[in-house]
Symmetry: D2
C-alpha cells in the first residue's frame, strides 16, 4: 500500500491567472502537509444541469493554461475528457486523464483515453454497481494501459440525493487497481437548487475521514479559495483555508489504516 | 389527448434484410391493430456493458438501411444519436431522433439534436428525477424546436435494478410535452448477467398496461421475431407473436384512460 | 379473476357520529358506482411520526363504534391490529383485520391475526422486497387461515420518499393470494412535514389507474369528506367528492384488464 | 468526546453456559484491548424472516441468564425489548435497553423503554431518514430520560440490500445524543438467503474503520466464537478470533478521529 495522494483543485479554470495562482497556493499547502497532489481543473462543464450554467474556457485555451500551470507551478495536472476526439490532444499536455461519471459506459471514450497510454481516472456512474466497474476496466485494459484508477463519486439514492457506499472501495480494490474517492461530488444534491446542483460541503470532512480509514488510494476534492463565489460546484467545494488541518488528520489516518 | 402511438422495433439492425423484413412484419401487425407506430432500430450500441458486446452495423450502413426501410416498408423511422456530429446526418434520413438515457445531461448533444428541427425523443437518465427533465427540455427548446418528447425508462433502485415511478409520467407531462414510456428498457437488470444486462420480459405487459392507464402519449417497446437469438437486449425484448393481443388491449385501455 | 373491490374510509375514527355518517355516505357513493367496499378506519395511530400527532379513540371505544357502523350502515368493516393481544377482540367485531407495514416482520402479530380465522390484509413493509412476502405469508398460512391478502403501499426510495414498483403486484400474485394496492399511503412523503408525513394526493388517480390496469384484486384508499381538516393523513387522503368519477373509471378499467 | 465503547456479543443466547462462557471470553478480549464493552445478547428473535427461523430462549429464561452473566462475568449487559410490557422486567435486570429498527416508530414502545430510566439504544429503521430520528428521540426525552443513544444500522437500498450513509452519523450527532453504529446488521442482505437474511461479514472491518473515523460514540458488533454454526445472523457476525487485531486498530483510529 502506498500513501494517500490527492487530486485537488478548483472545479473549473476561471482564467489563466486564477489557475496559476491556485496551483501555486495548493502546492504550498500540500507541501507543508507532506502529501502529494495532482492539480485538477476542467476546461469544459459539458453536462451541467441547465443551459444557463457556466461552461468553461474551452479545450484549446484550457490545455494552454494547464501546460503553463504544469511548467510554472511545477505540479502534475489532470483534467476531464468528454469525447474520444479530445483524448489525444489532452494527453499531450496532462499527466493524467479523467472521464466523467455519466460517460462511464461509453465504450469509445473509455478506449480512447486508455489508448493514450497516460494514467486515467475513470469515475463510476451514479447508476452503476461497484462490481460493474470490472467491465468498464476491461475496456481500458484491452488497450494495453494498466494505469487505470477507479473512482467512487456516490450512487443514486432516490431522487436528488447520492449515497457513498463504503463497501464499493473494497469491491473495486479487488480488481487490483487503485481506488479514488471523489468526496466533494459525493455530497452533491443533483438538481437540488432547481437549475443547478446543490451540495453539502459540511459533510466533506466526515466522508473524507471515513473513506481514508476504509483504505482508498487517493482522495479527489474540489477546493476553491472562495467557494461561494465559484461559477460552478460552489456548494460542495471546500475552501483552501480548511485544507491544512484536514490534510494533517487524513495523512495520519491513512498511515494508521494502511499500517505505514 | 391523442391516441397512443408506438415506437417499436428490434434493438439493433442485424442486417439490411433483417431490418426490412421486420419493418414489413411490424407494419402489418400494427395496421391490423389499428395503431400508429414508428420503426426503431439502432446502428450502434455505444454504451454496452462490456467490450465483448455487440456494437452494430455503424452509422453509414445503418442510415442507408433506415432510408431503405422508410421507402420500401413505408414506415416512419427513429434511431439513436450518440454525439453532436451524428445529429445532422441522422436527421437527414429519419423522421425522429432519440438520445440515450446516459447522455441526457450532455448539453451539446441535446442542443445538436434539437437544432436539426426534427422531432426528438429524449430519454431521462436512470439517475435523474422527473422534475429535472425540465432543465434538459429547456436546452432543447432554446434551439427553437418544440417537437420534443420526454421518455421514462426506469430509475436506479439500489444496484442492478430499475424501478418505474408512475408519478414521473404526470410530472413530465406538466411540461406540456408528450411523455413516452420505454417499457422494455425499464425491465432491464443492469449488469445482471455479469458482462451484459439481464431483463425481465415477463413484466412488460403488466408495466405497459399500467403506463397506458396512467396516460402516456407513446409506448416504446423493443420487439424481435425471436428475442432469445437477438445479439443484444434479448432478455427484455418481446416476441412479435405476443404483439397482436397486447396491442388490442393497450389500445382499448388508452381510449378509456384518455376518454377518447 | 373477480371484480375490483375497495377498502376505503377515513384514516381515523374521529368520533362515533363521524364514523357512522362517513360510512353511510360512502355506502351510497359505492353503491351508485356499483362496486363493493369495506369500510376502513383506525382506532389507534400507534406509529405516528412524532408524539404530538393524533392517536385516536382507543380500542374499546373504536370497536364499539365499528360494531355500530357495521350494524347501522350495513357495511363490512376492517381495522388495524398493532399487537398480538388485540387480535381476538378486534376479530370479534370486524369482517377483516389488517396489519401495519412496519410490523410485517413481527412473527407473533402475523400469527395472532391469522389464528383468528378472519380474513387479513397484510401490508408489505417499505423495507421489504415483494418476493419476501412469501415468508410472511407462510407464517399466516401455518395457522390454517387461507384468507390472506398481501398489500403494496410503496417501497423506500432514498429518504422521505416512496415508490410503487408495479412489478410487485405480479410478484405477490404468484402466491395465489389476492393483492391489494394501498394507493393513498403510497403517495406519502415520510417525515416530509418535519413532525408529520407529507403527501401527494394529486398523484392518487394516476397511481390508482395504473395499479388497476396492472390487475390488482383490491384498492385501499383513505378518503375523507374534508381531508385538509383531518387529524391525520390529510395530505394523502382524497375527498369524497372526487370518488364518483374515479370509481366509474376504475371499474371500467378493471373490467378491461381482467377481461370481465 | 469520550473514547469509543462497544456493544458486542452473540446475536442470541444459545443457552446459559454459552452466554456465560462467551461473556467471559469477550471480557478478556476487550480488557486486553483496553476498551469498554457492554455484553449484548437477545432472548427472542421476534422478527425473523420466516417462521422456521430460530426464536430464542424467551424472556424469563433470558433475563435470568443475563442476570447471571452480569454477576459472574462482571460485565454490563444490554438486550432488545419488543413490546411495552417487556420494558419494566427487562430494565430490572440489564444496564441498557435496546429497541429494534422495525419498531422505531411504535410510540408506546419508545415511551415505555424511556420511562424505565435506564439508558436506551434506539435503532433507526431501515426506512427512516437520519433527521427523522429527532422525532423518535423526542418521544423518549418526553419521558424524562436523557440517556438515549441513536443507532444506524443501514438504510434500504433497492431490494435485499442496505447501505450505510456515513452522513447519518453527523446528522444524528446534531441532536447532542451519542450515536451508535451497528456495523454487523448493516452488512445484512435482507431476505438474501430465501428464508433467512444473508450477510457480508467480510465488509465489517472496512465499515467499522470508516464509522470510527467518522466519529461515532459506540460500535455495535455481533460476534460469535464460531459464526458459521450460529443459529441466527451467522453470515454477518464476526469470529472472536478476529477481534484483538480489529479492536487495536479501531481504538487508535478513534483516538485520532476524536483528538484524544
Amino acid at each position: 500500500s502506498l500513501p494517500l495522494v490527492f487530486i485537488a483543485g478548483p472545479c473549473a479554470m476561471e482564467g489563466r491567472d486564477f489557475a496559476l495562482r491556485t496551483a501555486l497556493e495548493l502546492r504550498e499547502i500540500f507541501e507543508a502537509a507532506g502529501v502529494d497532489f495532482i492539480y485538477k481543473s476542467s476546461f469544459d462543464k459539458a453536462n451541467r444541469t441547465s443551459s444557463g450554467s457556466f461552461r468553461g474556457v474551452g479545450m484549446d485555451e484550457g490545455l494552454d493554461i494547464l501546460a503553463e500551470v504544469r511548467e510554472k507551478a511545477g505540479v502534475p495536472v489532470i483534467t476531464d475528457v468528454h469525447s474520444p476526439e479530445q483524448a489525444a490532444p489532452v494527453a499531450a499536455v496532462v499527466d493524467m486523464l479523467q472521464t466523467p461519471a455519466f460517460l462511464c459506459r461509453q465504450t469509445d471514450l473509455i478506449r480512447a483515453v486508455a489508448a493514450t497510454g497516460k494514467p486515467v481516472n475513470i469515475k463510476k456512474g451514479q447508476f452503476l454497481a461497484p462490481w460493474d466497474m470490472k467491465n468498464v476496466l476491461s475496456k481500458a485494459l484491452e488497450e494495453g494501459n494498466e494505469q487505470i484508477a477507479l473512482c467512487e463519486r456516490g450512487a443514486s439514492f432516490g431522487y436528488g440525493n447520492l449515497v457513498v457506499d463504503m463497501r464499493s472501495f473494497a469491491i473495486m480494490a479487488e480488481t487490483g487497481q487503485p481506488v479514488v474517492f471523489d468526496v466533494t461530488h459525493s455530497v452533491q444534491l443533483p438538481g437540488g437548487l432547481g437549475s443547478s446542483s446543490g451540495g453539502q460541503r459540511h459533510f466533506v470532512p466526515t466522508l473524507a475521514r471515513a473513506g481514508v480509514a476504509a483504505g482508498v488510494a487517493a482522495l479527489f476534492m474540489e477546493v476553491h479559495p472562495d467557494p461561494d463565489k465559484a461559477p460552478c460546484d460552489g456548494p460542495n467545494m471546500i475552501p483552501f483555508s480548511e485544507l491544512p488541518k484536514l490534510l494533517r488528520l487524513l495523512k495520519e489516518m491513512d498511515a494508521l489504516a494502511k499500517g505505514l
